[in-house]
């Protein structure tokens, strides 16, 4: 199982063949978001200005296979 933040600035595209996404959430990309909007959260105003990257958990098998055996 791998925990990873997929930032666009990382050196090379990772070879993700054979890995399955178990969970994925947006995580703020501080380098590409304006500082005023990432400092405070104001409803309907700041969230849209920020840039997000994927924070994901990857596994060797699909999650369903992991949980219930072979599907």
């Amino acid at each position: 199982m791998i925990v990873d933040l997929e930032l666009p600035g990382d050196a090379a595209p990772r070879s993700r063949a054979g890995w399955h996404v178990w969970a994925r959430r947006p995580f703020l990309d501080a380098d590409r978001s304006p500082s005023w909007s990432r400092a405070l959260y104001v409803p309907w105003l700041t969230a849209g200005r920020n840039v997000y990257a994927n924070y994901s958990v990857l596994g060797r098998q699909p999650l369903m296979v992991m949980l219930h055996g072979s599907v």
Binding site: M1, L5, R16, W22, A23, R25, A30, L40, L63
Partner: protein, 297 residues
């Protein structure tokens, strides 16, 4: 495993826990204390000014010396950690109560000083304020404390919301996977652990990052970020493995050290001083082996 996920490393930083700028903590306190920060910075001045103002009839006399002794710890803490090049938000957490106490005292002294100034400059207005309001200040200033409190509460709520919604992904991801996977793990026949590779995310501990870090160099004698050793996620291991058995001994010791001292510390496996400290006789016994065991028993 690392090759599959990490790819080539980003260019190495000069130091893993590199230096931050001098005013890192002040900018950070702008976010965390918002309106209390100016009060905190002005507290020494206001305490001095408050000394010039005699106490009102019902109030206890001002004791700026006592307050200075009490609050100096907070300022010393801030100055000390600002002087250290490696800065982290959490290093300041222990001093927050002192910071807030200083801000509160500053606000209280500011009210007394303002009332005294007003009484000297505009006696008639001050008289009217004393008769009409609870604070003995000019009527337009009555609402000021409540407004400042409300504004500070709003700013704080915005900051909490930012931390939760922008940087909460690691906690959410872990808790989602844990709730789904833990049941499957405990019902499995074999006790083999589900290994968690956090790769370059090894240092993330729930607070927004200062910078991206690279994994420690292979074969390094010390763990570069000892404080992070305590954060290695072990929650996904089956019950028998839940204790820190997977951590190498060095990491476990590092975690214990990290709790004691927030600043990273180099740990070498066999400090030379320790070897030297053994008496010569013990070393000779050690070379002979069996004899040493006999003597001990």
């Amino acid at each position: 495993m690392p090759q599959c996920s990490l790819g080539p490393l980003p260019p190495r930083r000069r130091v893993l826990d590199g230096p931050s700028r001098r005013h890192f903590y002040l900018r950070n306190l702008c976010l965390n204390l918002n309106l209390a920060l100016p009060a905190l910075l002005l507290a020494p001045l206001l305490l001095l000014a408050g000394r010039l103002v005699p106490a009102a009839a019902g109030e206890p006399p001002p004791r700026p010396g006592r307050a200075a002794v009490l609050l100096s710890g907070g300022y010393l803490w801030l100055a000390f950690y600002s002087a250290i090049p490696h800065k982290e938000e959490r290093f300041l957490f222990p001093a927050y109560p002192l910071f807030l106490l200083a801000a509160a005292l500053a606000a209280s002294e500011a009210r007394r000083v303002a009332a005294a100034l007003l009484a000297r400059c505009a006696p008639r207005r001050a008289q009217r304020g004393r008769e009409g309001g609870p604070h003995g200040v000019w009527p337009p200033l009555w609402g000021l404390p409540a407004a400042a409190l409300a504004a500070s509460a709003l700013l704080s709520a915005g900051r909490v919301g930012a931390l939760v919604s922008y940087y909460g992904a690691p906690l959410e991801v872990y808790s989602q996977v844990y709730s789904e996977v833990s049941a499957a793990l405990s019902s499995r026949a074999d006790d083999s652990p589900l290994r968690v590779c956090s790769g370059k995310e090894w240092y993330r501990c729930g607070s927004p990052p200062r910078r991206r870090a690279v994994p420690p160099p292979r074969g390094a004698a010390s763990t570069p970020r000892l404080a992070s050793a305590a954060q290695v996620p072990l929650v996904l291991l089956p019950p028998a493995w839940r204790h820190a058995r997977l951590l190498p001994r060095g990491l476990r010791r590092a975690a214990a050290v990290a709790i004691l001292s927030p600043t990273p510390r180099r740990i070498t496996r066999h400090p030379r001083s320790f070897q030297r400290r053994q008496p010569r006789r013990a070393r000779r016994l050690h070379q002979r082996g069996p004899l040493r065991r006999d003597r001990r028993s």
